[in-house]
């Protein structure tokens, strides 16, 4: 029992990212409202970013900015002292991509609204079918 508990605690970030991802996925699949879908999409993306950031963490390490930035370089830098910077870099890019996708998705949602005067998918389908 204890083992299971420690097993869960040891990876709880990873569990939560899956929960978030599934929340996003659920919104994207089930929700009828286009804006809700977009929110779901963003939650989905953020969950993945959370996953990456979780990869980067390191016990007993600090943020990846070197202490003696302006020193003479005589201070040896130990890899164990700093958090892994690479996932952060990747996720900066991913955040940018997500905001870009958000912009385009909202633009399309506006166009949908402009044409069908609603954001509900089922109402749009009935309008399409009626024609």
């Amino acid at each position: 029992m204890n083992e299971i508990a420690s097993f869960i605690i040891a990876k709880y970030n990873y569990w939560i990212y899956i929960v978030l991802m599934m929340i996003g996925l659920y919104a994207m699949i089930v929700k009828n409202n286009l804006v809700k879908k977009i929110i779901g999409m963003n939650i989905f993306q953020t969950a993945i970013i959370l996953f990456y950031v979780s990869i980067g963490t390191k016990r007993g390490a600090t943020i990846p900015i070197i202490y003696h930035g302006h020193g003479d370089g005589s201070h040896a830098v130990h890899a164990t002292d700093y958090i892994n910077p690479l996932p952060h870099v990747l996720m900066l890019t991913a955040i940018v991509v997500s905001v870009a996708t958000l912009g385009v998705a909202l633009a399309i949602a506006l166009k949908v609204y402009r044409r069908y005067n609603t954001l509900e998918e089922d109402e749009i389908f009935t309008q399409i079918r009626r024609k």
């Binding site: 991802m21 996925l25 994207m28 286009l34 879908k37 977009i38 999409m41 989905f44 993306q45 993945i48 996953f51 990456y52 990869i55 690479l86 996932p87 990747l90 890019t93 991913a94 991509v97 870009a100 996708t101 385009v104 998705a105 633009a107 399309i108 949602a109 166009k111 949908v112 044409r115 998918e121 749009i124 399409i128």
Partner: protein
């Protein structure tokens, strides 16, 4: 300067996109003038790269930023990617010239924005093919996707909703790929494909590797529109502006399949992909379902573009199935079909655009009398149709030959049967159109001469169209060279 060619194929279009974006505000007609030489340079550079890779018989690796991998990002242009680079740039060049008039008609006052997105889209695809970094691939994938969404959404009517679905589903696909890369990174600590490939075989016991594999593959399958994850594809291609669907249909799915080939063979290595994880049989069955369902759905369509979209779905099944047969023949067939299908799809879509250059022809019944009015387009259409059906000497036959051989060698008879079934359905599909276009409106028994005025599309569209149609036959006749000099080197030696 030739050592910098890998950078040039990306930088030149990128710069030209910026130029188009700026000068497009000043003068609309200048956009095409900038885009054409840029794509020409890209095409020539790709050919030079292709030639270099073949003659030197080793991949060209280019360190971006001067950092050697795995620290930095590297371009890895080997036989496979150089082939696909030539394919993409060639298809784009032909398409760019062919649709000049259509673009002006469809995007009256947003031509410059369109061309910018267009070039960025192609840049993204070129980058996807050239890159040797798993994460870089994701970024480029998103460039291609976002520009693609925008271009598809720029049509009236149902395009919006189709495009919205495409965005949602496409994002899921791309994110799943990203997640898969994250899993790989978690267990290997690397992002460079070659580096990953050297580490992964040591991790066969980990459960994370199969999970990463499945997640990556599902993501890519969503992106390529493999049945049953194809939901976005038919509507997106059908309702997109015709100058966009003619570009996206040949390229997007094919590049995604290229990525699948690359990830399967060069990231996960054949050992993992075909021996340890062994998804092959399951994936091939999915492909069989895709082929059959795609063909049947195509049969029930009345809209020509929708019908072609479903054929695209079936063709995706061909390639995925061929890849996951896991033998040399099948993979050769899959790669060959990437090339052939891109050209075939371009040809058939352009022919449809050409048919509707004076009169909108969406429904199958709109094609009445089309052959009499446009004999040249009709001939091209027939060549493309024959190629898609798979009749020699057009190229479609030869890739099908390899795929069937692969299926027989692997003992996967259902796949073979599905291929043959789809060929037959394709024959029915195309001859249904040809019948309408050729026979109707009916004449009296001895068909006294109807004087139909020949109204061909503009030469700007016709000439690229004819060239593409000739390419179908030329590619077919040069299959041997292509296979022995290029594709056989692109497949790792351990695959038999």
């Amino acid at each position: 300067m030739t050592q910098h060619l890998p950078a040039i194929i990306i930088v030149v279009p990128l710069l030209s996109a910026l130029l188009v974006a700026v000068f497009g505000w000043i003068k609309k007609t200048i956009c095409f003038v900038i885009a054409l030489p840029a794509m020409g340079i890209v095409f020539l550079s790709s050919i030079v790269l292709f030639y270099k890779v073949i003659t030197e018989n080793q991949p060209i690796i280019y360190f971006l930023g001067g950092w050697s991998p795995p620290v930095g990002i590297a371009y890895n242009i080997d036989h496979l990617s150089s082939l696909v680079l030539v394919l993409i740039s060639g298809v784009t060049l032909a398409h760019l010239i062919a649709t000049r008039q259509t673009v002006i008609e469809e995007f009256t006052n947003k031509v410059s924005a369109f061309y910018t997105l267009y070039i960025l889209f192609v840049t993204g695809l070129m980058g996807i093919v050239a890159t040797g970094d798993a994460f870089n691939l994701y970024v480029l994938l998103e460039i291609a996707s976002i520009t693609g969404y925008a271009m598809i959404g720029m049509n009236s009517g149902r395009a919006y909703l189709a495009c919205f679905n495409y965005i949602i589903i496409g994002t899921i696909g791309a994110c799943l790929y990203l997640l898969g890369v994250g899993y790989i990174y978690l267990v290997t600590g690397s992002l460079n494909m070659l580096d990953i490939a050297s580490i992964l075989p040591g991790l066969v016991d980990s459960k994370v590797v199969p999970a990463a594999f499945i997640i990556c593959m599902v993501g890519l399958m969503v992106k390529m529109g493999l049945f049953p994850l194809h939901g976005w594809l038919p509507n997106a291609y059908t309702y997109a502006p015709s100058s966009v669907s003619t570009l996206m249909a040949p390229l997007t799915t094919k590049v995604m399949i290229y990525v699948m080939v690359r990830v399967a063979l060069y990231v996960f290595t054949p050992v993992l992909s075909f021996s340890v994880i062994k998804p092959g049989n399951g994936f091939t069955w999915i492909a069989v379902a895709a082929i059959i369902m795609g063909s049947l759905m195509a049969l029930s369509q009345q809209n020509i573009k929708k019908m072609l979209s479903y054929i695209v779905i079936a063709e995706v099944g061909y390639m995925v199935g061929g890849l996951w047969l896991g033998n040399r023949m099948g993979i050769t067939g899959a790669i060959l079909h990437i090339v052939n299908d891109a050209v075939m799809t371009l040809c058939i879509f352009l022919a449809v655009v050409s048919f509707s250059s004076y009169k909108k022809r969406d429904k199958l019944s709109d094609f009445q009398g089309a052959f009499k009015e446009m004999p040249v387009t009709a001939a091209v259409f027939c060549v493309a149709a024959i190629s898609i059906i798979g009749v020699p000497p057009t190229c479609g036959f030869f890739s099908k030959w390899y795929l069937i051989s692969g299926g027989l060698a692997a003992g996967h008879y259902a796949f073979v049967a599905a291929l043959l079934f789809s060929s037959l359905i394709n024959m029915v599909l195309f001859f249904r159109i040809i019948e309408i276009a050729y026979f109707e409106p009916f004449s009296d028994h001895h068909g006294k001469k109807h004087h139909v005025k020949i109204a061909e599309a503009s030469p700007g569209l016709l000439i690229p169209l004819i060239i593409v149609a000739c390419m179908l036959i030329i590619l077919g006749l040069y299959t041997d060279e292509l296979v022995t000099h290029v594709i056989s080197h692109a497949i790792p030696a351990e695959i038999v």
